[in-house]
Symmetry: C2
Subunit: 223 residues, 2 copies
Amino acid sequence: MAEQVRAIRTRQAILSAAAKIFEERGYQAATISEILTTAGVTKGALYFHFQSKEDLAQGVLAEQDQKLTVPDSAGKVQVLVDVVMLHAYRLQTDPMVRAGVRLTMDQLAQGLDRTGPFVRWSDIGVDLLEKAQAQGELLPHVLPRETAEVFVGSFAGIQSMSQAICEYQDLTVRVSALMRHLLPSFVVPSVLASLRLSETRGADVYAEARRASPDQEARLLVS
Amino acid sequence: MAEQVRAIRTRQAILSAAAKIFEERGYQAATISEILTTAGVTKGALYFHFQSKEDLAQGVLAEQDQKLTVPDSAGKVQVLVDVVMLHAYRLQTDPMVRAGVRLTMDQLAQGLDRTGPFVRWSDIGVDLLEKAQAQGELLPHVLPRETAEVFVGSFAGIQSMSQAICEYQDLTVRVSALMRHLLPSFVVPSVLASLRLSETRGADVYAEARRASPDQEARLLVS
């Protein structure tokens, strides 16, 4: 058991180092030997967990999928909003999430498949939108896959703009504005009227999620 | 006069080479000597036009501002849509525009001010939205600056997603979907009903602009 805990810690140390180096150098220029030095682990330990630079990058990319449980709501559109707002809040506050998103947006990372996060986030969106649709929260013309992909793509750009302009300081304000611009095109008015979309929603959801499961970090999927 | 033409050609050759190298290597790793070799010009010629690597990158970034004239319409929301759709079409077809956008999205380009395109595109959006507002095309609550920035940020992400997934092949389809998701939140219904938003709109606007000014390329501002 102690060994398992040690292995998890080593894996986390390697991922943190990889995140740092990818963020500083970009995917292309980063080297495994720099990551080794930063992590302070042996070559053997690193290759036990990750087989290549791409494998390390995929590990960092996957970290943004490890979502805290968003408190369930009767309204599934609210859950969708909460997932987005929580992600924005974590981008502001968690270096590992930030590194994953930067890798995703690294248009110069040749040979690295960056589609994973776009696809996985879209799948989460489709799932929530189909549930919302089943209980009458959406306007009749909505195609869940199309709307989910518009959501994911536009969020990706809003975070990039916020990072370029002010290193994420205004991210939650921008994401709140994005929500107000997208939702009226596919949510029925009565649902729209009761949504919580304020810029502090991400922090509120985070606090609530931590209260609900104080001893665990970030392993559960969105229900 | 012949000299002036030569100088413009040299400048273009240098910018094309810079675009190519920045796209291949990223901003960080690119060197002026590689750009020199690719452009096939002397060091003196390069430094006559550009003082530094950052200056070269700003030159590439500025190329995406050189818009073909979008045909004027009575409806200013349609002009806004046309500017966006034309930009999507040019991203699919013009390597220089693509290089500028990639630099803008290069979150690893330390020391390069990437805010320029975000700010300049937002300003164009504000201008068009204020005109649209003045003639009653917008819903009463709209703040042109906020809406323009949501537009620019979400477009940036949609193009990034399309590039990651299929090298821009589905870009115009995705941008058309984005328009249908954003516009209902700020455009009055009667205007909405008459907008041309199809995925071929960018190509149509491009063809129309070229017909209107067959002998000039890409120097005029949006009216």
